[in-house]
Symmetry: C2
């Protein structure tokens, strides 16, 4: 039977990354394309103990429907951590628990975007956010970034030049996906000030902030600089515990916005699993336990980043450029004049894959750059993968291998 | 800061049931308004064992991101049960795991509804479905039901008379929420035939089918009568195990529709928790274990239904009418000429609440009838609740109490 699709569904496409991941079923292929945290570092023992406590102590509540907003203990912990670690002033009632940050992106988009609305994004930016927003049919106003993140002057100019008043600015301030770039400390108050002057809400997506290779942590979130209540912050348990829990959260001091997000979530899935929320809470409530786990993850990812940087330095042609992320899971590689869509085909034949840059540019208008993941593999595999990639680059450039 | 809301968000309202549930925080109030399964019957021991096995045997996969479609073992079990129990012929690849059936409703609506589209619904129907659909701004074409469910002749007439070609028919064939009514066996092929003749897709929502008080089970699903691939079936683990897992599924043999649902879910939350999916699978994979649990739930709910029917018979005025559901969690009470919105105020003062009927009528154009839940309380509480409600009805009617 022919189903007459909605306009948005007619244009919807599966994520390119999902398609790449299917290619990597071949065990000979080294995938630097993934976006996965290291599963061998998941705190299985601690999560196993946490789930036992939850079922023993409050199994009936954990397995029942719960309020849409989320379980009170976890919301209180989130507010407390935002305030203690990042100097925000938020309350448990500002928190809505979501089924992963992806649902936070979807709910925020649902509440704000009508077809044809303009969204301001960094260029490149997170593919999953673009996919969430695309369902609501916006157009994108892209703002240039450099090694210190989104450029305040470029943002100001873009907002002044916008033909139509944009709905919000989306950005990832820490160890961005896909570039690994961090928005510099001194730029943060400027970005907030510009947006507040233009009455432009901000969606601050911070999945990676806790995976900081410097013990001091990343700069404070934009939320901590806000004088108005225009920022919605997205945090997640996916990187501090495990993504399989599917527990993340939105934080906004704007009561009307919070309430609309709650109503949207009611219609979307009633509530996130209280069982998963309690298990995450049981894991994170002990600060030493959480800290010990984060120390392990940070040290491992830092070592993997270093392995990748070392291999890039040793094997890439001279004109290749990359950054050294201060945290997170990704770095960004560019080879001037090289179209990375085409490089992908060559590299795949050499049994290494990555994500070509085009998919992260909101208007798909640039083919330079590519994303490399360093969190999901051990150092030896990373080195081998980069060697294969360098070989592919040289093949592609026609240089002697 | 003023957030400029999307059109859909401007009109969104929190669910009335959620608001009623807040009223029932008062411990003196008996709530017949809820829609909760009996938490004291959750198989906590079995779920505790299941989660231990999952973490011990495949913790890394359980806590990692997973494919959007769902974990293969659970999808295979779902297809097998649909085929074995209900005589369908579906394959694991026809199954998409969702975060509760509510997400299935949201995804289906997202894929099919554009603003102004017409959706065909039973009248009354499930409030949560209306809330999911409302986000996509449809209008509703309502079809009358009687004691045997949606009336084929009324459906045929409605489709013939429709000014605009409707997008799909939504219905709950077994122990409907809110009425408890079951679509009669002989009507099922007729409904399928009518829809196939009109090329109208069906969204068949079956959360309660497994909670059948007759050991033979409910009549086969509409899906089993389909000659075309126009039916999407929604099933759930919420009633056979526990809603806190947030694991449910869509089943459709239409490959294009399935693919669009998967893509929509990618944008909405990437994937449902593989941990929760594996735990549900570990629980349901043993047929004797599942059967033993379902026997307990069915016997308890049947006894609670009987307690409610007995109390209604003993205390209600002669003109009150109710049905005797063959399964599920709800029954429907009408008192001719009585507006149940107004009755609610009187009853609340007598410390008993229910859900007034209006909220279940898609166009909010009828105020008769009310929904009573019998799954969430023990018999003595049900009896006391019905006595209070009968007192309120008599007060309201001005009859001597």
């Amino acid at each position: 039977m022919n189903h007459e699709l909605s306009r948005r569904a007619k244009h919807s496409q599966p994520s390119m990354i999902r398609e790449i991941l299917k290619v990597t079923q071949n065990p000979d292929v080294i995938s630097l394309a993934g976006g996965l945290p290291a599963a061998e570092l998941f705190p299985l023992k601690e999560l196993g103990e946490a789930q036992d406590r939850v079922v023993a102590e409050r199994g009936a509540a954990a397995f029942q429907y719960s309020v849409t907003e989320g379980v009170p203990e976890l919301r209180a912990w989130i507010a407390q951590r935002m305030n203690g670690r990042y100097g925000c002033s938020v309350e448990p009632n500002d928190v809505l628990v979501t089924s992963g940050s992806q649902q936070g992106l979807d709910m925020f988009a649902r509440v704000l975007i009508d077809p044809g609305d303009t969204i301001v994004v960094e260029d490149p930016t997170y593919l999953g956010a673009l996919q969430a927003f695309d369902a609501y049919e916006p157009s994108y106003l892209t703002v240039a970034t450099d090694a210190d993140g989104i450029i305040p002057e470029a943002l100001e100019a873009a907002l002044r030049g916008a033909k139509k008043r944009p709905k919000f600015l989306y950005l990832i301030p820490n160890f961005e996906n896909p570039t690994g770039i961090t928005l510099a400390l001194e730029r943060r108050p400027k970005i907030v000030e510009i947006c507040e002057a233009h009455d432009l809400p901000i969606l601050e997506d911070d999945p990676y902030g806790e995976i900081c290779f410097d013990a001091a942590g990343p700069p404070p979130p934009l939320l901590s600089y806000a004088k108005k209540d225009g920022i919605t912050y997205l945090g997640t348990g996916s990187k501090i515990a495990a993504p399989g829990l599917r527990v993340a959260w939105t934080v906004t001091r704007n009561k009307a916005m919070h309430d609309k997000l709650v109503t949207a979530k009611q219609g979307a899935d009633l509530c996130s699993s209280p069982w998963a929320q309690y298990v995450l809470y049981e894991f994170v409530r002990s600060e030493p336990r959480l800290q010990a786990h984060l120390d392990i993850v940070r040290a491992a990812y830092r070592s993997r980043r270093d392995a990748m940087i070392g291999a890039l330095s040793a094997t890439m042609p001279k004109d290749a450029e990359w950054n050294t992320p201060a945290g997170g899971m990704f770095l960004w590689l560019t080879i001037p004049g090289l179209n990375t869509d085409e490089l992908f085909e060559v590299a795949a034949r050499d049994n290494v894959v990555f994500v070509p840059g085009r998919t992260f540019f909101a208007n798909r208008d640039r083919g330079d750059g590519l994303r490399l993941n360093f969190s999901a593999m051990k150092e030896a595999v990373i080195r081998e993968g980069i060697e294969r990639l360098s070989k592919a680059v040289r093949e592609f450039e026609g240089a002697p291998v």
